[in-house]
Symmetry: C2
Subunit: 273 residues, 2 copies
């Protein structure tokens, strides 16, 4: 079969919304030659409270869109999607490597913990899927995992509120139960959460290491491309294309806060089944 | 043209999600003989931060679904949809009456105010559409309207948090600017907000009348059906069918909190264009 991609082909990164831009930020920092296509399914977010079947269907539509553009790798930058649809996506992607934020975060968490007590915070769907505990137990069955759904973190962050007394109070409600379990490592199981890392850290205290899977998934992408001799070695200015299914008020402003740079090529597309 | 409905046909009520169930609750209380079909587009909520074009497209799909079931009236129970898509829906519904929560709420607010200073709280899309001020100014151009988007109220309510110090702090941030304008009437411009009326009232104080359009839209539906001789006069036990595009965790529990009764006939349907 003729390969449709080469080392100059773009990397496809996708999320239900805006959070995956924290992954793009880290890929750009680590691999400045790479062309990137980002897809955010804004019109149908949030995925975090949707059913497994719906999330699988939406993810398939997105991956088909990315594959049509001859991506050389697919990055699942959304923990909710990774928690329920990684196998479906790998089947669809065939020979193209699929890297997912959940597996990367699990490995980093398992590696970081010294006392084998790890906390996970994420959206309700990610927590209910039990995907992080399953992935971590496969790496080390001695590890104890304490999970907490933090339903309101995404709405706060998307409302642009990353420092506020109300956010602190809500965060304390969510995090206090984890503190009682003597965890030494906390995985941010949602790509939005790095934006409120300050608030989370100040509640957890300095003895708890915070794992940001948006960083570790970028490292794993780098290793995978390098191993497959697919790193882009051209010294050209790379292209970053951003596709969304809707562009709500303040989207670009908030997106650029996640990305730490401007989104010049931002286009609205319509996904159908 | 042959009429597809009669007085025993169901009333179609729809919303982007769960909030419109507060309208169904009031219709059941006022018109206990009526059959009701409720549609909530859970898979694609929230509409409140989506673009006008996307909301129109989604609303058209929903109304087509309701019309296929020979509804005798359509109630737009979502302020965001009413603010941008009422004309589109009226064209589609043709001879079938369309009652919208936004027009009803505007009339009730304009009628209630004595000092002609009215406050409106709603989602960002409803506020940005300027639909409430436009509707109220048509009724009485002397009225001054003060609007405030309350982006986090819906996420709090859908997370099941209706009484919490964090919610009070967020509510104070939103409502304090309205208090400085000497309003005597506050319209709850989102069908979720009646569930946090206590918190809102305690901040606004007892001199501000709170208007709940979920009540006034049910009154208007009653008058419209009565005028058209379409009230259901059968003494049969009515049927309530609830259709959603997704059924997330806790949906039924939260829905029944909105509805104040059980949802026996709850079905997931798939909307396509």
């Amino acid at each position: 079969m003729h390969k449709l991609f080469n080392s100059n082909s773009p990397i496809g990164v996708f999320d239900s919304g805006i959070g995956g831009l924290t992954v793009v930020k880290n890929i750009i920092a680590k691999m400045p030659n790479e062309n990137i296509i980002y897809f955010g399914d804004i019109a149908r977010l949030p995925y975090g409270t949707k059913s497994v079947e719906t999330i699988k269907k939406f993810a398939e539509q997105t991956v088909k869109f990315l594959l049509k553009q001859n991506t050389k790798a697919i990055v699942i930058a959304c923990n909710t999607i990774a928690s329920v649809a990684t196998d479906t996506i790998k089947t669809l992607a065939n020979e193209i490597p699929v890297i997912d934020i959940l597996s990367s975060g699990s490995r980093a968490g398992a590696f970081a913990s010294k006392n084998n007590n790890i906390g996970i915070i994420a959206t309700p769907t990610t927590i209910n899927s039990n995907a992080y505990p399953i992935a971590i137990k496969k790496l080390n069955k001695e590890i104890h995992i304490f999970s907490q759904a933090c339903e309101l973190f995404v709405p706060f962050i998307e409302a642009g509120i990353t420092h506020h007394k109300a956010l602190e109070l809500i965060a304390k409600d969510y995090l206090q139960p984890l503190k009682t379990h003597n965890i030494d490592t906390l995985i941010l199981g949602c790509s939005h959460y790095p934006l409120i890392k300050d608030t989370i850290s100040s509640i957890m205290g300095k003895d708890v290491e915070i794992i940001d899977p948006a960083i570790t998934v970028s490292e794993e992408l780098f290793y995978t491309l390098e191993k497959n001799h697919n790193l882009n070695l051209q010294q050209k200015v790379p292209t970053y294309n951003f596709y969304v299914t809707d562009k709500p008020i303040h989207f670009q402003k908030i997106g650029e806060k996640f990305l730490h740079r401007s989104m010049e090529k931002l286009e609205i597309v319509n996904l159908t089944e």
